[in-house]
């Protein structure tokens, strides 16, 4: 009996040390981490091959059973954003710049005057939860077409109003990017309405991205500028998004 007890304690200690052993191997600089992360290219290629331009599942009104749970930034504090929020985003402008032939500066009225798309979709947070809501907005492809992308453009980068992090070197504003395959997908919209009402501040007012075949962190909120680029190397730490720079997959299809 005592022996068995010791055996159990011993195996518990082994399990404890076992998991600590893997901590160093999974650190961001280790070679093993790079091996593990190599799945991302395979995952992206496979998913792209399987998905093509298919649509994400859409749901019915009856599936909307609650409000959309906000996550990440829920109330940006920057002076410019606050001023705009107080005046109902009357002065808001969306800038489309970078590798385009005709850069755009679009008011909220300009955006809502464009043909819109409504979709009831499921928002999947990387944490594991899901929430179904109705989103209405202008297809990103429509906005990008207005700006006429150059042939060298490969990615759309989203610059946002919300400071997601305050470090010694200053504020880090949320940034995210998608490639032009996802940018021109019909369900990829710049949403300004949610569940039949103007987009709430907590959910990214006045304009947020919806990329329905990827996880929630790809769907940048509080977007003020869309920049078309040919490389993500100079953005943040070079991985293409705030969360990708912190170890998450840039392609968040899984």
């Amino acid at each position: 009996m005592i022996d068995r007890r010791h055996l159990l304690l011993g195996s518990a200690a082994l399990a404890l040390s076992g998991c600590k052993v893997f901590d160093s191997a999974s650190g961001s600089d280790s070679a093993l981490r790079k091996l593990f992360a190599s799945h991302e290219g395979l995952t992206r290629t496979t998913q792209r091959a399987l998905i093509g331009d298919r649509l994400a599942p859409e749901f019915s009104e009856a599936d909307i059973r609650q409000g959309q749970r906000p996550n990440g930034s829920t109330d940006p504090t920057g002076a410019e954003y606050r001023r705009m929020a107080e005046t109902g985003f009357r002065d808001y402008r969306l800038t489309v710049t970078g590798l385009v032939d005709s850069p755009q500066s679009l008011s909220f009225a300009d955006l809502t005057a464009l043909p819109s798309r409504s979709q009831i979709t499921r928002h999947d947070c990387v944490e594991g939860w899901s929430c179904i809501a109705k989103w209405q907005g202008v297809p990103l492809g429509t906005v990008l077409t207005l700006a006429t992308p150059k042939v060298t453009a490969r990615y759309a980068v989203f610059h946002c109003f919300d400071a997601i992090e305050r470090s010694l070197s200053g504020e880090v504003f949320y940034y995210e990017s998608i490639d032009l395959i996802d940018a021109f997908h019909p369900q990829t919209i710049l949403a300004y309405a949610m569940n039949g009402a103007p987009l709430p501040v907590a959910n990214g007012a006045p304009l947020r991205l919806r990329v329905e075949r990827q996880l929630g962190y790809k769907m940048a909120k509080y977007v003020h500028t869309i920049e078309l680029v040919d490389s993500l190397a100079t953005l943040g730490f070079g991985k293409g998004s705030y969360w990708a720079d912190r170890g998450y997959e840039w392609y968040a299809g899984i």
């Binding site: 399990a15 998991c19 991302e40 399987l50 998905i51 599936d63 939860w129 329905e212 899984i254």
Partner: protein
Amino acid sequence: MPQGPLVYRQRLITRIAHWVWAVSLFFLMLTGLQIFNAHPSLHIGKEAGFQYDNAILEIGARQDGDTLRGMTRLFGAEFDTTGLLGVSGGEARAIPAALTIPSYQSLATGRVIHFFFAWTLVGTLALWLAASALNGHLRQLVPTLADLRALPRDIADHARLRFHHSAGYNVLQKLAYASVLFLALPLMILTGLSMSPGFNAAAPWLLDLFQGRQTARTIHFLTMLALLGFFAVHMAMILLAGPLNEMRSILTGWYRTDETHD
């Protein structure tokens, strides 16, 4: 110890696949628990209820005066699980550090390792399936009519810890291995894929099959528990049936059978 002849029981591809699966499942489970810790609730349905309750399991922490208490709610009944679930090592975390990789909270790292080993599992499973279909090993895992007739006796023998060492698998072994390889692992893979918003576009029928992404996530978790149960029984059987002989057969392929008296 059995005293009969040595037989070549497991081919190289089966032995290699076995150990790749063992390593993969070890990492998949412990990184899976890391991922679970980011949202330690299991729901039934398409979404997670925040303004209504569709959770069958919820693990959390609650401040109780000076102490932090770990609480687990299972089918509406609440239990204090401080030290194990909800609160362990003095911090609020659903699954304790000893059972997650990495031991500290890092969803990003857990995901990277989880998906890497998901690929190694799926890859070796596919290779092994193809090879075993060709070399006839698959047939050795399917119980025959004679096997099923022998089932009551086999159960009785196992219950009395009376093990027979023969070249083929006994019927309980066949049923156990076949349910892991042809039921549990495919279910793990399909429920895992059902959680991928990308794969949902490729195969929306999977969401209908599992009745929603959150139900798929719950089934993924429950199947993990079933696999853990298989692992416990698997280890017990090895210890009881003769660990040296069993280890030799899964490392070298050679297995010592019982003496025959005919």
